[in-house]
């Protein structure tokens, strides 16, 4: 091997190692400082004394509620669109090309633009209209709330769900569909009873990936319903809520005493990171199982 060859391989290897080292530094630093304050009390208590003491329970609660509401909206919708892409779409049709382009584009829209859309469409558009129509103009739904934040989040996670589910549906062997149709089942019966049951892993992966993205997202809930601090937990659809990612941002940039909040901040970051990593790794494992199953 010539010297120049060796140096190319070395440089490429070094780039890889550098990326991995940076990942390790981030994870190591956060874990090292984060475990200090981590305790059962931290996970179950609300913040106290201007966020310099207590825990983050309301933020965890708000996050879970948010991603639940989001999944209820995004997963069924995403699955139906995925059924269109995998089962009904004619590849050469213009409608297919446009929907495909729209979904791809949706994945690339900046999160802050989604935030603006959520405010303009859900809060000021639909919310205000519902207030006029149902509540005689009283301010009920025409304000930022957990419902609209979840809807905004659902729009964002839609492409993730669609692409993952479609991928698994395409992996279901053609013979399964043919066998079902040959037995006299209609197309819908084939999809509901044969293709969909075989694609559950894809639906699961899509939902998990969507949740992991939703949990840490801040820019989108900034104007659509996240709150700095709330004395009580959200109970109705038009309540505001606290969220882990937003809480981190608040603690890091709006705190009156940065040094005092730092340990809490680190632990909050660790909780969020652990949550997203757990979800991502689960999705990865399911996906890997699915691939080996499809290859069999």
């Amino acid at each position: 091997m010539k010297a120049i060859d060796r140096s190319v391989v070395f440089l490429c290897g070094a780039a890889t190692v550098l990326i991995l080292v940076m990942l390790a530094v981030i994870l190591g630093n956060i874990t090292f400082h984060g475990v200090e304050r981590l305790s059962a009390e931290f996970l179950t208590q609300p913040p106290r004394q201007g966020m310099t003491a207590g825990g983050i329970f309301p933020a965890i609660y708000g996050t879970v509620l948010l991603v639940l509401l989001m999944s209820i909206a995004a997963v069924p919708f995403g699955v139906i669109v995925a059924i269109y892409f995998a089962e009904y779409a004619k590849r050469e049709s213009r409608f297919y090309r446009w929907t495909r382009m729209a979904v791809n584009n949706l994945a690339g829209v900046p999160s802050i633009v989604f935030g603006l859309f959520g405010l303009g469409f859900f809060v000021h558009g639909i919310g205000k209209a519902l207030d006029q129509g149902i509540y005689d103009g009283r301010l009920m739904l025409g304000q930022p709330s957990i419902l609209w934040a979840a809807m905004t989040m659902a729009v964002l996670t839609l492409p993730v769900v669609i692409i993952t589910v479609e991928e698994t549906m395409r992996a279901v062997p053609r013979e399964y569909r043919e066998a079902s149709l040959a037995l006299g089942a209609t197309r819908l019966q084939t999809i509901l009873r044969v293709v969909l049951p075989q694609s559950w892993s894809g639906v699961m992966t899509g939902a998990i990936l969507a949740v992991s993205r939703g949990a840490g997202e801040v820019a989108r809930v900034l104007f659509t319903g996240a709150a700095y601090f709330l004395p009580r937990l959200p109970t109705r659809a038009n309540d505001q809520f606290m969220q882990l990612g937003y809480h981190i941002w608040v603690l890091a940039t709006q705190s009156p005493d940065v040094e005092a909040t730092k340990p809490i901040l680190y632990s909050t970051v660790l909780v969020l990171l652990a949550l997203t990593f757990l979800l991502n790794v689960t999705a990865m494992v399911i996906r890997k199982r699915m691939r080996t199953w499809a290859a069999r």
């Binding site: 091997m1 120049i4 060859d5 190319v8 391989v9 490429c12 290897g13 070094a14 780039a15 890889t16 550098l18 990326i19 940076m22 990942l23 981030i26 956060i30 919708f77 139906i80 669109v81 059924i83 009904y88 779409a89 409608f95 929907t99 382009m101 729209a102 791809n104 584009n105 949706l106 690339g108 829209v109 900046p110 999160s111 802050i112 633009v113 989604f114 935030g115 603006l116 303009g120 469409f121 000021h124 558009g125 729009v155 839609l158 209609t186 197309r187 819908l188 840490g216 820019a219 104007f223 937003y246 981190i248 941002w249 890091a252 730092k262 969020l272 990171l273 991502n280 790794v281 990865m284």
Partner: protein, 321 residues
């Protein structure tokens, strides 16, 4: 004579089956229509985003509101001073700030991500490869607010100590954190592109006596070039729109400066920082939605071009998409 129940049963079954089939076929048709409706909604969402973000900015074109209209956002003086007795809404400092931070991020991310992609797809042993890819996927899983936090608390202090900077938070700090966020995108897309290059390209090159490195650099890399271009464009698009990292790590001063060591404010960070405090429907509010529309148009364009490049590569390599 009494007809036997068996016979009547025999007569009835075809009828029932017929009705059953009719109903099934009707349901089938309904389901198809419904599914098409949902697909149309998915397509409509992207239009809705444009309409609802653009709608709030549109009045700027024909009216002046708190001294804000469409020409004031580009006319001199080049200052962004939305909160003052004489507010000035010139978006050029924000556009420049965005470009500066994005370019710094690309400068860091591109060589690292492409080097890693080349290493994983061409040089690394299979067992190591299987570890690198999930690790970089984990990097992609780090929420941007966590990356922003890391840049704000740890990276900024380290950079300041190493380089002796006068400002803790600056464009360089944000750029490096942003690079970490876009490395996974550039890496994944370009690694896919390198992997998509057919094996016989490599075999032909090796058979002609080229070394493994020569093959990688002169044959595989050029063949995957459109895909790599797409990777860079997609990374660029993501960097332009990224909000939380720059909001937390760049310092936030809307000044015109080319120095990477100055505090910087980007378009996305401006929206995030200021929309909470503006009057609904006022000039400042409209300008922020105008910036949002700009971001939407720019990123959509970049995504579209990236998609095109990717498709072109598949066309070139396989003669089909």
């Amino acid at each position: 004579m009494r007809s036997s129940p068996v016979a009547s049963e025999l007569l009835r079954i075809p009828d029932a089956t017929h009705r059953y089939r009719k109903r099934r076929q009707f349901l089938d048709k309904m389901a198809e229509v419904l599914i098409l409706c949902f697909a149309s909604i998915a397509m409509a969402i992207i239009l809705l985003i444009f309409v609802y973000v653009g709608r709030e900015a549109l009045p700027l074109f024909w009216e002046t509101n708190d001294g804000a209209n469409i020409s004031s956002s580009f006319a001199p003086p080049v200052v962004w001073q939305p909160v003052s007795t004489n507010p000035r809404y010139n978006v050029i400092p924000l556009v420049l700030g965005t470009l500066k931070v994005t370019l710094i991020a690309m400068l860091f991310a591109t060589p690292l991500a492409l080097g890693a992609a080349l290493y994983t797809s061409e040089f690394a042993p299979v067992r190591i490869r299987e570890w690198i890819k999930p690790a970089i996927e984990l990097l992609a899983g780090i929420p941007s607010v966590v990356m922003g936090f890391f840049a704000l608390i740890v990276l900024a202090s380290w950079l300041q100590a190493q380089l002796g900077l006068s400002f803790r938070l600056n464009a360089l700090n944000a750029g490096i954190a942003l690079a970490l966020a876009i490395i996974p995108i550039i890496y994944t897309v370009s690694e896919d592109a390198l992997n998509a290059v057919p094996q016989h390209y490599r075999e032909a090159s090796l058979a002609l006596g080229a070394s493994k490195v020569q093959t990688a650099v002169r044959v595989v890399f050029p063949a995957a070039m459109p895909g790599i271009g797409a990777a860079m464009i997609l990374g660029f698009g993501r960097a332009i729109g990224e909000t939380m990292i720059v909001l937390m790590a760049s310092g936030g001063a809307a000044i015109v400066s080319l120095s990477p060591f100055d505090s910087t404010r980007t378009m996305s960070a401006t929206i995030a920082a200021e929309l909470g405090e503006v009057v609904f429907g006022g000039g400042h509010y409209r300008i922020l939605f105008f910036i949002g529309s700009l971001l939407f148009v720019i990123t959509s364009l970049l995504n579209w071009i990236g998609d095109r490049y990717n498709r072109r590569m598949r066309l070139k390599l396989f003669g089909a998409e």
